[in-house]
Amino acid sequence: MSQTLLPRLVATILLLVAWQAMALSGLLFRDVVPPLQAIASGVGGVLGDSGFYANLAITGFELAVALVLGGAGGLIAGLALGGSRFLSQALERWLNYLGPTPKIILFPVLIMMFGVGAGSKMAMGAVSCFFPIAISVAAGVRGVDPKLLQVGRSLRAGRLQMLTKIYLPAMLAPLVNGARLGFGVALIGVLLAETKLSNQGVGFLIMQAYQRFDMPRMYGLLLVTVAFAAAVNIATDRLAIRLRGSRVRANK
């Protein structure tokens, strides 16, 4: 940890100095690269704004619903694809084609289906995270050690027991990985949808700041959003390490 600290610190300081030099040089259009103190006050303004928290709550809620729906869908689809040769041969090609397609092109359809409110944002997030989760769960199912499955079969485990006592614990790594990828793209999906057509949410606030050309506030919002995403990523990482660690660590 401490070994990476110094290079990181140096890189951060260099970046900040370069930014500040750019801002003060006046080379770029005024305020596109606002000086650091303006951004700092932008962040302060965002954090001191009660309206921001209300919008953050809305985005967070949309994101949570998207993750639950898309995650459950992705898990079920992944288990089905991983468990059935037929389904995998019939459908997995499509999953792999559609996976990297930008889901925003579906937004008009989702608006027609779910309206202009929170529904279409949740749907965007859900559709976005469905794919990486389904793909990594399907791969995870196929990666389960066949010997362990034979143990389950020879002990006559039922279908549900095979799932909960062998498949899922054996797939911990791909499950966590799918969840992390899913979280990232769901956040993108929800925010993107909010910037396109919305009157609430963090994505909407960012576009509003942009349209008013309030660059410090816009950067403030961006920074807070990035910090939020990073915090969630770190938390899932920690959780994954804890889960993995609990296998190795004995209760001494």
Binding site: Q150, V151, S154, L155, R156, G158, K165, A170, A250, N251
Partner: protein, 264 residues
């Protein structure tokens, strides 16, 4: 039906289809295992031992013939049969006691009672004190003992093992052989052991079944009339040497043929 053999294998043949190489792995094998007996099946690598193991365990369908336990035909995994696989098969995310208690957990037994039962089998295989360890913290021999304890915890009437010590070093194998003898003497566990080690087969068995190489046929059955309880001492007795020499004689031709074919 009480007189019926515990396990009866009659005229079992397994052919893999042309898509899988068009090979007859097991050819018309018949034998029986009586209650309380320890029988080994020995044969060169690739002669169809694992195939036979999977058929008896109900994990693979025989092409022809019939396997029955206590007179009941096997169509799938049967509760009377407990399998120990050739490769290590502990659940890496479970500690030793939860690995061993796994069959009891499947049966819906409560935590306290299944742990109590599991503890008995952990003691039996000599792993007391390692209950909370995870497989990654154990040696290969210890992990294989966990697998044996897990299979025994299901209380099978027939213990079916496929080269459980194949991946272990010589000394560990010998020690585990002793362990198996001890388990057999304590539990009177009917056992069918698949192996390619002649000394292991003679040391442990009441009877040794020799398989030929391609097709995998029953070549001969040899009764091992060494006194029980057996100890490591029998390894140096002259009778032991005679049995080993006799089996080696049978196997040498098969193994040579297998080697020649493998080298093409």
């Amino acid at each position: 039906m009480t007189d019926a053999a515990l396990l009866s294998v009659s005229r079992v043949t397994k052919r893999y289809g042309p898509r899988n190489g068009g090979l007859t792995a097991v050819d018309d094998m018949s034998f029986a295992v009586e209650r309380g007996e320890f029988v080994s099946v020995i044969g060169p690598s690739g002669c169809g031992k694992s195939t036979l193991f999977h058929i008896i365990g109900g994990l693979t369908q025989a092409t022809e013939g019939r396997v029955s336990v206590e007179g009941e035909a096997i169509t799938g995994p049967h509760p009377a049969i407990g399998m120990v696989f050739q490769e290590e098969s502990c659940f890496p995310w479970r500690n030793v006691i939860d690995n061993v208690a796994f069959p009891l957990e499947l049966a819906g037994q409560g935590r306290a009672s299944r742990h109590a039962t599991a503890q008995g089998f952990i003691d039996l295989v000599g792993l007391r004190g390692f209950e909370q360890r995870h497989p990654s913290e154990l040696s290969g021999g210890m992990r294989q003992r966990v697998c044996i304890a897990r299979t025994l915890a299901a209380r099978p009437r027939l213990l079916l093992m496929d080269e459980p010590f194949a991946s272990l070093d010589e000394q560990t194998r010998m020690l585990l052989g002793d362990k198996v003898l001890q388990i057999q003497q304590q539990l009177h566990q009917t056992t069918l052991l698949i192996t390619h080690s002649i000394t292991e087969a003679v040391q442990l068995s009441d009877r040794v079944i020799v398989m030929s190489y391609r097709p995998g046929r029953l070549k001969r059955t040899l009764a091992i009339n060494l006194p029980r309880p057996r100890t490591a001492d029998i390894l140096v007795s002259p009778e032991f040497g005679t049995y080993v020499a006799e089996l080696w004689n049978d196997l040498r031709q098969e193994a040579t043929r297998g080697l020649a074919e493998a080298e093409g």
